[in-house]
């Protein structure tokens, strides 16, 4: 195996290897869709964030418009503070509602933004005032049982 | 000014078991010197000390004018560039051709234009008679040819001191004769000094100028070939004449024969 053949094969190997990496990044991963250059940060408080994780998506109308950056606990109001980085290309009114929703029935949780009608937009560092916490299964069940019990009492009246 | 001076050198790989005991040697420039003895007498170890691979535990080894213990790595490598060594079975680089093997020292230490390098390699191969084999790989060579290529490689940089570690091992009579004659002619051609470690007595005595005889880590006899051939020293006598019994006994230590056969 002389030198030029070795160089040729190594060149092919390295090229194909990098091509595989690029294939993985573009076709398999989400590099093409969302890039993190221009974002602005807003935060929101929730009574319960459920299973929301950092780096989880922030969606509006089902489209990813940002990522959860940070989740902290406020020891004064005993609520969770979620910081989000939103794509600078998307502006939301100040009265936007942030809800914690689930993908499908058993999927991962994400922050859903429903735009309000206010003319003034959210700026970097603003707080989203209207929030709805995650649905916690135990609360749901106890509420269901409570309703059932109330229903059972009513005919007796 | 001797090329190699060994003064009162003692050494052991394991400090508790010395391999060399108080050796004294002086090798004159231009001479072909033989170091002979039984296997395990310490002659290869002595060669390694001359090479600088090991430092003596006691005494001093002076090679090419400098004590080996005073050399740092750079100085050691600089000294080795003026030496050449032929290993027992050649130690050719198996992934390179004959040409590339001989060119190796030139490529590593000099930056020569390709045509000059080519001429030098051909020169060395011509000296050992293998110019036509330049394109072969070491696996395609016979033992004798491999040894000769290794010899060409060891003289690639025109060394002042050439070391031979058992150069005649396993050679057929023709290759044997070739190597013997090459050692002498190259030594004189290059104006170098050669040290041959061997136990092939008869042939070596024909080519060397001076001999050191070692046994048990000591030099027990030294002199010119004729002196050695007629030496009264019993071990030298047994060795030179190949007698089966003498100071080196035929029988390994064992209990009485009759007792072993359960007779007495």
């Amino acid at each position: 195996m002389n030198r030029s053949m070795i160089d040729l094969w190594v060149g092919i190997f390295v090229t194909v290897g990098f091509a595989a990496l690029i294939f993985l990044a573009l076709k398999v991963g989400n590099l093409a869709s969302f890039s993190t250059d221009q974002t602005y940060s807003v935060h929101a408080k929730f009574a319960n964030i459920g299973g929301l994780k950092v780096r989880g998506p922030v969606k509006s109308a089902g489209v990813v418009v940002g990522r959860v950056a940070d989740i902290r606990f406020d020891n004064e109001s005993y609520e969770a503070i979620v910081s989000m980085n939103l794509d600078s290309g998307y502006q939301f009114p100040r009265d936007t509602t942030a809800k914690i929703l689930t993908s499908g029935i058993l999927g991962e949780q994400y922050v859903g933004l429903e735009a309000g009608g206010d003319g003034v937009m959210l700026k970097h560092g603003d707080r989203v005032r209207l929030t709805q916490s995650a649905v916690v299964l135990e609360n749901l069940i106890s509420q269901f049982l409570f309703n059932k019990a109330a229903e059972a009492k009513e005919p007796a009246k | 000014m001797p090329i190699v001076e060994i003064k009162n050198v003692s050494f052991g790989y394991d400090p508790a078991r010395p391999v060399l005991r108080d050796i004294n040697l002086a090798i004159a420039p231009g001479a072909v010197v033989g170091i002979m003895g039984q296997s395990g007498c310490g002659k290869t170890t002595l060669l390694r000390i001359i090479m600088g691979a090991y430092l003596p535990s006691r005494g001093e080894a002076r090679v090419l004018g400098r004590a080996t213990s005073s050399l740092d790595t750079a100085a050691l490598y600089e000294m080795r560039r003026r030496m050449g060594m032929l290993f027992q079975f050649g130690a050719l680089f198996t992934d390179m051709s004959v040409y590339e093997n001989v060119a190796f020292p030139l490529r590593e230490h000099c930056r020569l234009p390709a045509s000059l390098e080519h001429d030098l390699v051909m020169l060395k191969l011509q000296a050992v008679g293998l110019r036509g084999a330049a394109h072969l790989m070491p696996t395609e060579l016979s033992g004798g040819m491999a040894r000769r290529v290794a010899l060409a490689r060891s003289i690639a940089l025109d060394p002042q001191l050439i070391l031979y570690d058992e150069p005649f091992t396993g050679l057929d009579p023709i290759s044997f004769g070739v190597i013997v004659r090459l050692i002498r002619s190259l030594n004189d051609l290059l104006g170098a000094t050669s040290i041959i470690v061997t136990h092939d007595v008869q042939e070596a005595l024909d080519v060397v100028d001076y001999v050191y005889f070692m046994a048990g880590g000591r030099v027990i006899a030294e002199g010119r070939p004729d002196d050695i051939r007629s030496s009264p020293e019993p071990f030298v006598n047994q060795f030179v004449n190949g007698r089966p019994d003498g100071p080196v006994p035929f029988h390994y230590t064992a209990p009485a024969y009759a007792a072993d056969l359960e007779l007495a």
Binding site: I6, V10, L24, V28, N30 | L76, R80, R81, H109
Partner: protein
């Protein structure tokens, strides 16, 4: 009587442990020396390129074929389980994440250790046994810079590329079985995969893993070769040790790296 035997066994065990610890120290110094003397390997890049050929290119066939088969099996097994939960459209996600995060770096690493790692150990060990290393030293050429360093960098360069190729081949195999054979919707296969696989968290972490494995495996290979007893038996033992130690190192490092990189939570 029994106690004396037990005690001597304990002493031997202690001796083995201390000698292993000593060996790790020696190997670490070897690595540092090797990296510091990598000038020749980098300046005369031809030497390293030749080693990328021997370590990387010659491993291509086994990596691609194994990757393909692993991907196909993942798709088969994955479909079996996923369709029980009505989640068969997530097959692409399963195959891609398994490969990119874990199987790509780990299995490619194990294959690399057995094919290229053992070859490197055997080669260096044989050079030592046939006195080629001593001959080089005698010609005032540092064998670690000339022989060992190019092999080290050749392996480190090859490993991440081989892991990426393994994952790519596996995803293709998963596509072949999942979409072509079983009939999962192609659109769902790719789109769900793209949504779930994150470049920074999954792919980059996979690349980092394969880089770490490459360093570990190649380090072990060159060290075992250089430290081998220069006999036929010594070289064969060193080759076996390379494969065993490399495999264990890959699995242990995989655990450590996975714990660092992939454990979820609100951190």
């Amino acid at each position: 009587m029994e106690f004396a035997g037990f005690r001597s066994r304990l002493e031997r065990l202690g001796g083995t442990v201390t000698s292993q610890v000593w060996r790790i120290g020696f190997a670490s110094r070897f690595l540092v020396y090797l990296v510091l003397h990598s000038g020749t390997a980098l300046r005369r890049f031809r030497l390293t390129v030749a080693q990328v050929y021997f370590a990387g290119v010659l491993s291509l066939v086994i990596i691609l074929v194994s990757g393909l088969f692993v991907g196909m099996v993942l798709a088969l097994q994955g479909y079996e389980t996923l369709q029980r939960f009505g989640a068969s459209e997530s097959l692409g996600v399963l195959v891609a994440l398994s490969l990119v995060r874990e199987l790509g770096p780990v299995v490619a690493g194990l294959l690399f250790a057995s094919r290229a790692g053992s070859a490197i150990t055997a080669e260096i060990g044989l050079m030592k046994a046939t006195e080629q290393i001593s001959a080089m030293e005698m010609m005032a050429v540092d064998p670690i810079a000339r022989v060992v360093a190019p092999r080290f960098w050749g392996g480190v360069i090859s490993m991440p590329l081989l892991a990426a190729l393994f994952s790519a081949a596996g995803i293709f195999g998963g596509y072949l079985v999942g979409v072509q054979l079983i009939g999962v919707d192609a659109g769902a296969f790719w789109s769900q995969m793209q949504a779930a696989v994150d470049v920074r968290n999954d792919i980059l972490n996979g690349v980092i893993k394969s880089l770490v494995f490459g360093i570990a495996v190649t380090w072990i290979s060159v060290f075992e070769g250089y430290d081998a007893i220069p006999t036929a038996e010594g070289v064969s033992r060193a080759t076996t040790r390379t494969v065993v130690t490399s495999s264990l190192a890959i699995l242990a490092l995989d655990f450590v790296l996975t714990a660092l990189m992939f454990t979820g939570g609100n951190h």
